[in-house]
């Protein structure tokens, strides 16, 4: 810290200038020096404590990545990725239906969520004026929806869809996941569109382009990479959700048959494998965890690298 050092130097200089003939001043200065030492000591300890906090947070990440890769990689084979699970405890078979099911449920959930989320975001950013109470309500409740416990979302999917169509189903799972995704997409769309400079809108208005075209084909298009980033991050988020799937898609060891029937998913399969008292099942669980973490962190890291490249090339 250059500023602290300057302070110290200044005090020492003063001490040198008036050493002998004002004794009281000298004692005051030594007292200040002592007090400063204490303050400096506290300052340094806080720095050390905060570094310790960072290390405390990084240890679990390192351990998770290390263990998942170490234990997961030996479980992975072509059979593991494509086959149906074998008999319980046999350690045979794989997680093919789970991978397929995750892709289907997350894909369908995204289809249900993205249009609603993006359009709501466009509304909040482009159409709702400053003091619009309805817009404030939509924004507020969307934020509150973000904090909804995911198990509740599962209960809603169960009551609103599973009970109505009479079967655990892909549709119910996708609907539940869409409840988690909509507020995330809405927020990111609104935030990104708000950053688009007004001059672009004004120029388009001056050309007489209708407002809906300006919103969709000029403003949204300008902000497209930001919106896409947000969408992919929220896809990564729902791909790891487990709780809502328990009461909607149920989980099965069979491949996908219909949108109104049960299906398997990766997080659900990890949970079932973790709950079985067989070492072979736990080993398969590590394998499934590795695949899930590859999907989720792969989407995250890939996107961030991509967006950094974009920013770098724009400047």
């Amino acid at each position: 810290m250059p500023k602290d050092k300057g302070n110290q130097d200044r005090k020492q200089d003063k001490g040198n200038q008036i050493p002998n003939y004002v004794n009281t001043q000298k004692t005051i200065l030594t007292m200040m020096e002592k007090k400063y030492k204490k303050r400096d000591y506290i300052n340094k300890s806080v720095t050390i404590i905060s570094i310790a906090c960072v290390i405390f947070a990084i240890i679990p990440l390192t351990s998770i990545l290390f263990e998942v890769v170490k234990n997961g990689i030996s479980a992975i084979s072509l059979e593991f990725l494509t086959e149906r699970p074998g008999a319980i405890g046999s350690g045979k078979g794989g997680i093919g239906p789970a991978i397929q099911g995750t892709l289907i449920v997350v894909g369908l959930g995204s289809l249900m969520a993205i249009p609603v989320g993006v359009l709501t975001g466009v509304y909040l950013s482009e159409y709702a004026s400053g003091n619009n109470k309805f817009a404030f309500g939509v924004r507020f409740f969307n934020d509150v929806l973000t904090g909804l416990p995911s198990i509740i979302v599962g209960i809603v999917g169960y009551i609103a869809i599973v009970l109505v169509i009479g079967s655990f189903s892909v549709i119910a799972g996708a609907f539940s996941l869409s409840l988690i995704m909509i507020p995330l997409v809405t927020r990111i769309t609104e935030e990104t569109l708000k950053v688009v400079p007004n001059s672009i809108r004004e120029a388009a208005h001056a050309l007489g382009i209708p407002k809906w075209r300006i919103s969709l084909f000029i403003v949204l298009k300008t902000a497209l990479s930001g919106v896409l980033t947000g969408i992919v991050l929220s896809i990564a988020r729902i791909a790891g959700e487990t709780a809502p799937l328990i009461m909607t898609i149920l989980g099965t060891s069979l491949f996908f048959t219909s949108f109104t029937g049960p299906v398997d998913a990766l997080p659900l399969r990890i949970w079932r494998l973790a709950s079985q008292p067989y070492e072979s099942a736990n080993a398969q669980g590590w394998g499934a965890a590795l695949i899930l973490i590859l999907i989720v962190l792969g989407l995250n890291i890939g996107l961030r690298l991509l967006s950094r490249k974009n920013i770098a090339s724009k400047h």
Binding site: S50, L61, D143, I155, I159, I188, W212, R237
Partner: protein, 312 residues
């Protein structure tokens, strides 16, 4: 004005209305599902009851042990998680140079993206044994005889482990929000404090943190909301006790939270009443989470009116 303008406006207002409809649907579905249990036990009776018996003819359900389990495990998570999160945020925003800040913030955000089922799986097979060997056994041996908090023989699957892993899960969430908040603090605040001769910590303490006081409180409460609603991680490591046993008497007691009991029994519900009781637990959880969230959002809104900070 193009003709389609009007139609388009209706479409996007429709999308916005749909999101409000979803919120209404959530309350309706949870309310509808829990009517049966509330009319049998009474709302107060259900919340204060401690039985959990699904045997036909002797059915009796109460939520109190799981409410306590939820509050205790989240309380432990907050006690550990909040100070550590603040430390990380202060390091990233006030202490670290840009070269360290960028990759570290990236790592913290990655941690926030790890699915909770993976935290749970790792905790069940790895972290639990660290807890037993390095923390719970030594604490038990030292204080087990004198302090009831450490009395039970540690097994690793208990409310303490659940709280610590919850803390590990919410730390990246809280610290990334607080870091963003601290970086919005105008640098003139810091400069003023430095020019008075304050050290870096004094500057942080008197000029930076107070400026974002209610925003930090809001971020903390968002973390609390996540801890209270978390399901899979808790289900795997809290020991899944039922009834009176689920009320923790020591840090090393097995327990149960509202959400973990729902996840454990939902697919094996013995009767409609049992199912309704589980949804009733969901209703209690929903009310808890909503109160916490609305409060947190209002606090964060007040702080960052221009660009609300995300709570992903």
């Amino acid at each position: 004005m193009s003709k389609f303008d009007g139609i388009f406006k209706w479409i996007i207002v429709g999308a916005a209305v749909y999101t409000l409809f979803l919120l209404a649907l959530i309350f309706f579905a949870v309310g509808d599902g829990s009517i049966a249990i509330f009319s049998k036990e009474g709302i107060i009776g259900f919340i204060t009851g401690t039985d959990w018996n699904a045997v036909y003819g002797r059915e009796s359900f109460g939520a109190l042990p799981y409410i306590i389990g939820t509050l205790v495990s989240s309380g432990i998570a907050m006690a550990i998680g909040v100070p550590v999160s603040l430390g990380i945020a202060i390091f990233l925003s006030e202490i670290a140079g840009k070269k360290i800040r960028t990759p570290l913030s990236f790592i913290v955000e990655l941690l926030a993206a790890v699915p909770s089922i993976i935290y749970g799986f790792w905790a069940l097979f790895v972290f639990r044994f660290w807890m037993i060997d390095y923390i719970e056994r030594p604490l038990h041996d030292l204080f087990g005889g004198t302090i009831p908090l450490f009395a039970k023989t540690p097994f690793g699957l208990d409310v303490f482990t659940a709280g610590v892993v919850l803390a590990i899960m919410i730390i990246p969430i809280i610290s990334s929000i607080v870091r963003e908040l601290l970086q919005v603090v105008p640098s003139i605040q810091r400069e003023a404090a430095y020019s008075l001769g304050a050290t870096r910590w004094e500057t942080t303490k008197i000029a930076v943190l107070p400026y974002m006081k209610s925003g930090i409180l809001g971020a903390t409460i968002i973390g609390l909301g996540r801890a209270i609603g978390e399901t899979m991680l808790v289900t795997l490591i809290i020991g899944n006790a039922i009834g009176l046993n689920a009320i923790p008497t020591s840090l090393f007691s097995q327990s149960q939270t509202l959400s973990s009991l729902i996840a454990n029994e939902f697919n094996e519900a013995a009767s409609d009443l049992h199912l309704s009781a589980l949804i009733g637990l969901g209703a209690v959880l929903l009310v808890l989470a909503m109160v916490i969230n609305v409060f947190a959002r209002i606090l964060v809104y007040k702080m960052v009116k221009t660009s609300p900070v995300g709570g992903m």
